[in-house]
Amino acid sequence: MASVELEGLELRYPNGVQAVRGLSLAVADGEFLVLLGPSGCGKSTLLRLVAGLEAPDAGEIRIGGERVNERPPQRRDVAMVFQNYALYPHMTVRANLAFPLRMRRLPRAQIARRVQDTARALGLEALLDRRPGELSGGQRQRVAMGRALVREPAVFLMDEPLSNLDARLRLQVRGEIAELQRRLGVTTLYVTHDQVEAMSLGQRVAVLRAGTIQQLGAPERLYERPANLFVAAFLGTPPMNVFRVALEGAGSAPVLRLGAARVPVPALAAAPAYAGLRPEAFRLAARYPELPAVEVRAAVVERLGPEQVVWFDAPAAAVDPLAAADTPAPRMAARLPPAPALAPGESLDLAFEPAAVHWFDAGGRALARPGT
């Protein structure tokens, strides 16, 4: 068991892509930390840096307080689960599990015992003499986990370990991983692009974009207090509705305008340029007459069972924060209770709590709401 500290890491690939820039991160001993981000954000590279499969151009990597930059992978005491599992196809499951122990020259009897224990813990006992080619996807995934676990490593690295499983199995294995990690208490770095995986597994989640950490914190904190537009938009489906804040009247205080609704801008650290509303912040105005409301026309209605998602033409200058600067977003979304059922073309009044509005400055940074 060990903590992992990354300090000022830089990595530029020979093709000029800056995969990691000035990145620092501390993972506590025993913590489960998820690296979340879109593809190409540098999250897998970060994992490979910790494993020793890549070398940083600058910065320091410490495991258990010791600098490991110069150590090759085999001398870092980390175990890794690869996206495609990377099981050795010419070896049986038993030999795959034994391989890392053989490399450490453990006595035979001890290897056999630990392989047996790991196999039992993961329900692999019946498969020990099969080769990876004879296993199902779920079984292979389990062997890959076993090969990492059997070493009792100081740090556990997982690179999208669930992405090759079908939806059902993913749900099941996700639960198993969470339980396993809680039981063993191994420091774990887990890479994924799936926000549900990140939110459900991570004690803390680091959201990455373009090689930098956008925000680091507990999952619910990221959702409720996104540090910037990127995090706000990346977490949540459908994503947060973001639109420009308009100034109304010369010299007067800025006002948020959404269709006919007017919301005075509260006292903030700086002038807001963007405002955001999560789709679930909307409700049907009929039941909340005291709230500001906006009349919209439903364009698409997705009936999802426990809720319905209504897409409507944006009544304000909406933007897509995940795209390049200020790309207009034609539609906004609202998540509403399943009843009353709405139909496309129907017009409806949507109300929202002024306190639910997220405020961002011109650079996309979140502005603290009054009272928080």
């Binding site: 490979r48 494993a51 020793g52 499969l53 090759p72 992978p73 085999q74 980390v78 175990a79 890794m80 690869f82 996206q83 495609n84 990377a86 099981l87 050795y88 196809p89 010419h90 070896m91 391989f99 890392p100 490399m103 450490r104 090969r147 070493r151 690295l157």
Partner: protein, 276 residues
């Protein structure tokens, strides 16, 4: 109707071609069992391919006239050493080129690509001068060492290694294996097809080599089979039966090998053609 006709024509064409390809081989094998007097006499008729009288005299003659076993052992030693050392040397080099980061990599890769187009015949005579000057000739090692490093073998291995998923080796590194260990325990077992291809292609291209032993050997003691059949042919008296027996004896093991590992041969040749 039309379909049966074309199918019939196709089979006829195949049959005639097969006969043309088989005839010289049959001529060789059948002739080796004929009495000397019948060989030329039968050569112009169907009897060339069907012996009326079987005899083993020619085979007895071969062993009486020359040291066939020595030639066979020479060939086995030369080709065995060439293939085995070639597999080791070229696979290691290809792995270094395909996967490892080191300073001379682009230079060596360039050298391999440049030498890939140089046929041995362009080198044979200058190399003959050079090796003669230092007095290295007329033994089995001079027929092996110059052929161990082989650009085609390196290239075939290189293409194969470059196509292997990297994750496997990375997993081995994380699991605690060093570079050589990773190569031996993870890469080699998954590259058996490449090793078979390279072994077969090496054998196919080099076992019949005639020019080099002709230049480099003087007496019979280091003479391999392909040169031995040619010198046997010029050894008076000219007895065709003996020559055909010698020829049959020398190709029999290779033909057997070919028939046993036919698929691997075909795969090897196809790989050379498609990746070469």
């Amino acid at each position: 109707m039309r379909r049966t006709l074309t199918t019939g024509l196709r089979h006829a064409a195949l049959l005639v071609s097969a006969a043309a390809f088989l005839a010289p081989v049959a001529f060789l094998v059948v002739g080796s069992f004929k009495p000397e007097g019948r060989i030329l006499a039968d050569a112009g008729s169907w009897r060339a391919f069907f012996p009326a009288h079987w005899t083993l005299d020619n085979y007895r003659d071969v062993f009486a006239r020359v040291d066939f076993v020595r030639f066979l052992l020479n060939s086995l030693l030369i080709n065995g050493a060439m293939v085995l050392s070639g597999l080791a040397v070229n696979s290691l080099a290809a792995y270094a080129l395909a996967r490892l980061r080191w300073a001379g990599r682009p230079f060596v890769l360039g050298l391999v690509l440049a030498t890939l187009v140089v046929p041995f015949e362009a080198i044979a005579v200058p190399l003959f001068y050079g090796l003669s000057a230092i007095g290295w000739r007329d033994d089995w090692s001079v027929q092996v060492v110059p052929f161990v490093a082989n650009p085609l073998s390196i290239w075939l291995f290189y293409v194969f290694f470059a196509g292997l998923p990297r994750e496997l080796e990375e997993a081995a590194r994380v699991d605690g294996a060093g570079v050589l260990r990773t190569f031996l325990t993870v890469v080699v077992p998954n590259a058996r097809a490449a090793f078979a291809t390279v072994a077969i292609v090496t054998l196919l291209f080099y076992w019949g080599m005639y020019l080099w032993p002709l230049l480099m050997t003087a007496g019979p003691h280091a003479r391999p089979l392909p040169l031995a059949i040619a010198t046997f042919y010029t050894l008076p008296p000219l007895r065709w039966g003996d020559i055909l027996a010698f020829g049959t004896l020398m190709v029999a093991p290779v033909l057997l090998l070919f028939i046993l590992f036919q698929r691997a041969f075909v795969r090897g040749v196809a790989a050379t053609g498609i990746k070469g």
